[in-house]
Amino acid sequence: MMIIIRVFVISITLLMLSSHVRAQTINTTDSEGPVFRWQGDGLKFETAARPAVKALAFYMGRGFSADTAKILVNEGCIFRSAIGSDKKTTGGKPVSVDLNDWRVIVNGEQKKIRKRDDWDAVLDRLNVKSGAARIAFKWSLFPPKQIFLLGDYNWGLLSFALPPLTRFDLKIVWRLGGKKQTQTFKGLECGS
């Protein structure tokens, strides 16, 4: 009898747990390396390092010179990313993301991530005149602030402004119906 009760309790607990698993970090590996994912508290997020060779090809394809493309890759630490609302956990509330709140943590030191405006200054410094390249660069980067409603998601590149092969942690911040949520991913690495 005890066995039956024990098995019943375990089964019910597992079923209850499974139906309430709403916040989870799933790290997987695809052909390009580790993919870091989060799903819960209203947010779906995934990010993965862009290999340098692919990032280089992308920038040159958009009209940057080879020299500038190399600088962008070496300074950028570019990650492809998707951010969106998680229909199962938003509870109908808007999800807002402000990249100004996000931090990269390298050797215990916290740094802001590099956003569209920061890159504009870099492109000015590099004297990049090509309008087409700058337009593509701007629109390929993730928007600094965004509000996601049900069904909304966005794709973009995140730039952590670190040298190739730097290992770091990433603290992401979002608000679900105004309530602050955070999650930290450990062991990300810039592409090389």
């Binding site: 597992l14 492809r80 199962k88 087409a132 593509a136 390929s140 069904g151 998601y153």
Partner: protein, 183 residues
């Protein structure tokens, strides 16, 4: 009695396996897909800003050319993965839209005509593609990232907005479009 116990144990074990299996299925079907087939009503239904852009044949096309029609406007770029992904469904939706007098305009941000031409022919797209070469129109419209789409009602107001890619020929979205077209 012993046999009964054995049978009971086996039954319980099976129950436990089923519970674990269901738990795993539920956990992994929490979904890694982002797009959900819905659009958001545009707050305040602002009047859509008119624009005049060249199509791939070099002819000017304005939003005001389609006054009195429902118009779906999609901002995109060939190098944007979710934009590429939604293009086949846009083509399928366009084939339905045409039967219902609904217009579709895909506005490419930046880029050059040759590159867009080769993309359009590779994907067999025949809806109008306009080029926002200097991204002035894209900057003037309420978009932050691509793809972003809008649906303009017959009165020229923005009725819906969708951030991110969609399956445009899905029954849910098609129904929203057809309902708006009836109003």
């Amino acid at each position: 009695m012993r046999l009964m116990k054995k049978l009971m144990f086996g039954y319980c074990l099976r129950l436990q396996f089923i519970a674990i299996f269901i738990a795993i299925i539920v956990m992994f079907t929490n979904g890694q897909t982002y797009a959900q087939q819905t659009m958001q009503a545009m707050p305040g239904n602002p009047v859509a800003k008119d624009f005049k852009l060249k199509n791939l044949d070099g002819e000017f096309v304005s939003l005001s050319d389609f006054k009195g029609q429902v118009v779906m406007i999609n901002f995109w770029a060939t190098w944007c993965p979710p934009c590429r992904k939604e293009m086949p469904s846009m083509q399928r939706a366009w084939e339905q839209y045409q039967k219902n007098d609904i217009m579709m305009l895909a506005i490419h941000i930046g880029g050059n005509v040759d590159e867009i031409w080769s993309f359009v022919s590779e994907y067999n797209l025949d809806f109008p593609v306009l080029i926002d070469g200097n991204s002035k129109v894209s900057n003037a419209w309420p978009i932050l990232g691509i793809p972003t789409s809008f649906v303009i009602d017959k009165q020229g107001r923005i009725a819906y907005r969708a951030i991110g890619g969609r399956e445009w020929d899905s029954p849910e979205l098609m129904q929203m479009m057809l309902l708006l077209n009836k109003q």
